[in-house]
């Protein structure tokens, strides 16, 4: 079964998302939550790293957190948005689950 990583940190403030991507093997699912959703934005200094990651990983982002931050129109294509129920489904479908805090 593929595993799920969650990341809740902005990639321009902390190294959590960068380190997570460095440890994500092909087919791993990554869910961006809380301030981690800033990592899903287009046209940022981190965007190239995420675009590269999208080629081998399944990347999701929590829609409630995106809307809270007003960035719904700036999300990279290829990132799937989920709500809290979708978060639960991702956890049920993957194992283990690890939080990059």
């Amino acid at each position: 079964m593929a595993m799920l990583y969650t990341v809740n940190k902005s990639p321009l403030e902390r190294n959590a998302l960068e380190s997570c991507l460095r440890h994500a093997t092909v087919g791993t699912a990554i869910l961006l939550i809380e301030d981690g959703v800033y990592g899903a934005m287009a046209q940022t200094a981190f965007t190239p790293a995420l675009e590269q990651a999208l080629q081998k990983l399944h990347i999701y982002a929590l829609k409630p957190d995106i809307e809270a931050r007003g960035i719904q129109d700036k999300i990279l294509p290829g990132i799937a948005l989920v709500d809290y129920g979708g978060f639960v489904d991702l956890v049920a479908q993957h194992s283990p689950v690890m939080a990059w805090l």
Binding site: K9, E34, D35, G70
Partner: protein, 121 residues
């Protein structure tokens, strides 16, 4: 207390993930009530605080970001946003909910140096 003090509140953290942005805004509003020379500076992830159309209903928290638009009512008129921080995040002043003055890092550094007090969180 005859002369006003130059007090800057520096915002470097994203909103919502932590409470610092919200409680720093409260600090800014209180400071303004003391009739001092108040400046707000937004840099690094702090620039995310000013993004428009933030809607916190989906995460069920208080939408304190609406209060940024009220800053002029509190006579806080010096609102600086760092150009390099905006650029790194793919943002322009048109993305922000408030009218701000965009400064480059060197100019912002000069403005920090001129303060009497610098609060950060």
């Amino acid at each position: 207390m005859a002369t006003k003090k130059k007090i800057m509140i520096v915002n470097r953290k994203a909103p919502h993930g932590t409470i610092y942005a919200f409680e720093s805004l409260e600090m800014a509003l209180i400071t303004a009530a003391f009739d001092q020379d108040v400046t707000l500076a937004f840099l690094d992830d702090g620039v995310y605080q000013l993004v428009k159309n933030q809607d916190t209903r989906p995460i069920e928290t208080k939408n304190f970001t609406r209060a940024y638009r009220a800053l002029p009512d509190y006579e806080i008129e010096k609102i600086y946003v760092e150009r390099e921080s905006l650029n790194a995040r793919g943002l322009t002043p048109a993305d922000l909910a408030v009218a701000v003055e965009v400064l480059d890092a060197d100019t912002l550094a000069q403005r920090i140096m001129q303060q009497d007090v610098v609060f950060s969180a």
